[in-house]
C-alpha cells in the first residue's frame, strides 16, 4: 500500500472533485469540497483495499486572507493494517461554515468536532450535541480565529515586529 495507490483509488471514485494533491513529509494530503466530506470518509472507511478506519485527529485552521475559504477542517486518517496515513482538508467560508459531521462514522469525532466548533465556529451539520467543550458556554466569539490577538493590541512594549509577526498582525 502506497500513497500512489490511495491517490489512484480516490481519483477513480471521485474524479477531479478532489484537488490540491501533495505529500508533505510523506503524508498524502488532498482537499475535498465541504459537501462530500462524509461521502469521501465513508468510502475510505468501507473500501476493502483502503481501510482508513481510524480517525487520528480532526481540527481546524483559520486563514483570514483566503476569501471564501477562510476556515479549514483537517482530518487525519490512519489505516492501521497497512500503516499508512492520509490528511484530508475541506475549506468553508467563514460566513457559512457548514461541514457535515462525521460522528456517525467515528464516535471519536464527537468531542473533536465540538472542540473545532468551540475554537473556530465551524458548524458541523448533523452533530448530536454541538456545544462548546473547553470554553465557557457564555462565550460569544471563537478564540482561535486570527482576529483575536493573544495580547492587548494597544500595548507597544510587546510588539515584536522585528522578529516576525507583530501583535496586531495576523
Amino acid at each position: 500500500m502506497t500513497n500512489e495507490i490511495v491517490k489512484d483509488r480516490l481519483t477513480e471514485r471521485f474524479g477531479d472533485q478532489l484537488t490540491g494533491w501533495e505529500g508533505p513529509y510523506g503524508m498524502l494530503t488532498c482537499t475535498m469540497p465541504a459537501g462530500i466530506n462524509m461521502e469521501v470518509l465513508q468510502f475510505l472507511y468501507d473500501d476493502e483495499q483502503l481501510r482508513f478506519r481510524f480517525l487520528t485527529d480532526l481540527t481546524g485552521v483559520h486563514y483570514p486572507d483566503r476569501k471564501g475559504e477562510e476556515l479549514c477542517v483537517v482530518y487525519h486518517l490512519h489505516n492501521m493494517i497497512d500503516g499508512i496515513r492520509l490528511r484530508l482538508k475541506t475549506y468553508v467560508p467563514v460566513e457559512k461554515p457548514d461541514v457535515f459531521s462525521v460522528t456517525k462514522l467515528y464516535s471519536a469525532a464527537n468531542w473533536m468536532e465540538r472542540e473545532t466548533y468551540d475554537f473556530f465556529g465551524v458548524n458541523f451539520v448533523g452533530h448530536p450535541d454541538l456545544r462548546r467543550i473547553l470554553n465557557v458556554d457564555e462565550m460569544e466569539h471563537f478564540p482561535m480565529r486570527k482576529e483575536f490577538p493573544m495580547e492587548d493590541p494597544t500595548r507597544m512594549d510587546k510588539d515584536d515586529e522585528m522578529f516576525g509577526r507583530g501583535s496586531t498582525v495576523v
Binding site: 513529509y25 492501521m80 500503516g83 471519536a108 470554553n135 522578529f163 516576525g164 509577526r165
Partner: protein
C-alpha cells in the same frame, strides 16, 4: 432562634419549584467531581444512579483549559516546549521529545545515535513513572494504599534522574532541538544504574501484592470493559487500546528516535476491562525497563568503540538551533550572535505542514504543525489521547456499579492537563 429557622425553611420550601420529572423520578443524581478525590483531576461527571447501578453519565471537561494552542501561535519554537510539559505532566519528557522531533522532522535534522538512545532511555523512564502512578492509583481506588506508597519511592528516583539531567522534576522542559541542553552527568548515570538494579525487585513485589490478589481481581475483572471495535471507533490508542486487544504501538508502527534498534514486545489484553489495562501497563513497565537496559548497553558500546562519543549530546549540524557553550558566548563573537538570535526565537524554520506522532504513556501524542516560516507556528494542534478516549467513559461504565466507575476512570489514566490542553 429555632422559630426563625423554621420560618426560613418554610420560605425556601415555598420557593423551590421542582419539575414534575424531578419529583417523579426514582433514581439519584450524583455529582462525581469536579473536585472529588476519586477523580484524580478536575473533571466532572454527573451520574444518574439507581442504587449502586450507573444508568448514565454526563461529562463536563475544560476546567483547566489554558489555551496552549493559542499561546503557541505567539511563542518562538523553543518556548513551546514548556507548554508540552503541562499536557501529560506525569510523563512530561515524552511530550518534550515528541515536540523536538516534530521540529527536527520539519528541519530535516538527523541526530547521532547516542542522542537518540539517550532520548529513548529518558522516554522509557517517563513511561515507567507514568504507568507506575496509574497502576498504583487503581490499587488505591480499590482500597490498597500500600502499593502506591511503596512504588512512589521509585518514581521519586526517576524524578531525581530528570533533575540531574535538566534541573527540574515534574515539568521538565528537557532537551532542545537537535539533542539535549547538556550531557548526562555522572550522577545521572549512577542513578540510572541504581534504578535498573533496584527497581525489578520492587516491581516484582508490587505485582505479587496485586496481580493475583483475590480482592483486587474481583474488583477489576469485568469492570469498565470496552471491545476492540468500539475502542478503535472511539480513537483509543496506547495501553487502553492494547488492553482491548489491538497491538497498535507507534514505536513499532512508525519507529522514531531509533526504536527499530531495540528489542521489545507489545503486550495486549483481550476484553479491555480494568484488569486488562492493569496487566498491560505492568507488562509495559517490564518492557520499558528492558529498553532502558538496552539503551544503556548501546550507549556504552558506542562509547567503547569511540571515546569521543562520550561528548556527543546534540547533532553537530544543529549548531544554529542549539545554544553554544557559555564560555564561548563570553569570548567568541559568533557564539554571542547565535546565542542572541536563538534566545530571541529567530531561528529559520521553513514553511511546511507536518504531523508527528509519538507513543506517549497514554497513547499517540500527535503534533500537527503548520509553519509559515515565521518565528512562531502559524497553527499548532496537539493530538491529546486523553481528550479523545475519555469520551468513551459513559459507555464503559453504563450498567456497572458506581465503584466500578471509579476504578474505570483511574485505569483509563485520564490526566486533566492533557484532557483540557
Amino acid at each position: 432562634m429555632r422559630g426563625s429557622n423554621e420560618g426560613l425553611m418554610s420560605e425556601q420550601n415555598q420557593h423551590i419549584q421542582l419539575s414534575d420529572e424531578s419529583v417523579a423520578k426514582q433514581t439519584t443524581t450524583l455529582n462525581l467531581g469536579p473536585t472529588h478525590p476519586a477523580t484524580h483531576g478536575v473533571f466532572e461527571n454527573i451520574l444518574e444512579i439507581d442504587g449502586e447501578k450507573v444508568l448514565s453519565a454526563k461529562q463536563t471537561v475544560g476546567y483547566i483549559h489554558r489555551a496552549f494552542e493559542k499561546i503557541a501561535e505567539r511563542r518562538p519554537y523553543y518556548q513551546i516546549t514548556p507548554l508540552t510539559d503541562r499536557l501529560n505532566y506525569c510523563s512530561a519528557p515524552i511530550n518534550n521529545m515528541g515536540w523536538h522531533m516534530t521540529i527536527e522532522k520539519l528541519l530535516g535534522l538527523k541526530l547521532p545515535k547516542r542522542v537518540e538512545y539517550m532520548r529513548v532511555l529518558i522516554m522509557e523512564l517517563a513511561r515507567i513513572s507514568d504507568h507506575l502512578i496509574c497502576n498504583s492509583v487503581v490499587a488505591v481506588d480499590t482500597g490498597a494504599l500500600t502499593g502506591f506508597t511503596y512504588v512512589f519511592q521509585w518514581r521519586e528516583l526517576i524524578y531525581e534522574i530528570y533533575e540531574e539531567i535538566c534541573g527540574s522534576r515534574l515539568t521538565t522542559n528537557m532537551g532542545r532541538v537537535g539533542g539535549f541542553e547538556r550531557n548526562f552527568s555522572d550522577v545521572a548515570w549512577q542513578k540510572i544504574d541504581k534504578f535498573i538494579e533496584g527497581f525489578p525487585k520492587v516491581m516484582k513485589e508490587f505485582e505479587d501484592l496485586l496481580t493475583r490478589n483475590r480482592i483486587f481481581m474481583d474488583r477489576c475483572i469485568g469492570a469498565g470493559p470496552i471491545s476492540a471495535e468500539r475502542a478503535l471507533n472511539y480513537g483509543f490508542t496506547g495501553p487502553n487500546l492494547r488492553a482491548a486487544g489491538v497491538d497498535y504501538d507507534v514505536r513499532i508502527a512508525e519507529p522514531y528516535s531509533s526504536y527499530e534498534d531495540f528489542d521489545f514486545k507489545i503486550p495486549t489484553g483481550t476484553v479491555g476491562d480494568v484488569y486488562d489495562r492493569y496487566l498491560v501497563r505492568n507488562m509495559e513497565i517490564w518492557e520499558s525497563l528492558s529498553i532502558v537496559k538496552q539503551a544503556v548497553e548501546k550507549i556504552k558500546q558506542l562509547e567503547n568503540s569511540d571515546p569521543a562519543q562520550k561528548h556527543v549530546f546534540y547533532a553537530p549540524e544543529s549548531d544554529k538551533y542549539h545554544l553554544p557553550p557559555k564560555e564561548d558566548v563570553y569570548t567568541k563573537m559568533e557564539a554571542l550572535i547565535y546565542h542572541f538570535k536563538m534566545v530571541m526565537g529567530e531561528i529559520a524554520v521553513p514553511p511546511g505542514e507536518i504531523y508527528h506522532g509519538v507513543e506517549g504513556a497514554n497513547g499517540e501524542v500527535g503534533y500537527y504543525l503548520i509553519s509559515d516560516g515565521g518565528r512562531a507556528p502559524y497553527r499548532l494542534h496537539f493530538r491529546r489521547p486523553c481528550f479523545i478516549y475519555y469520551q468513551a467513559f459513559p459507555e464503559m461504565i453504563k450498567d456497572g456499579l458506581l465503584s466500578d466507575a471509579i476504578i474505570a476512570l483511574s485505569s483509563l489514566n485520564v490526566i486533566a492537563g492533557e484532557l483540557d490542553a
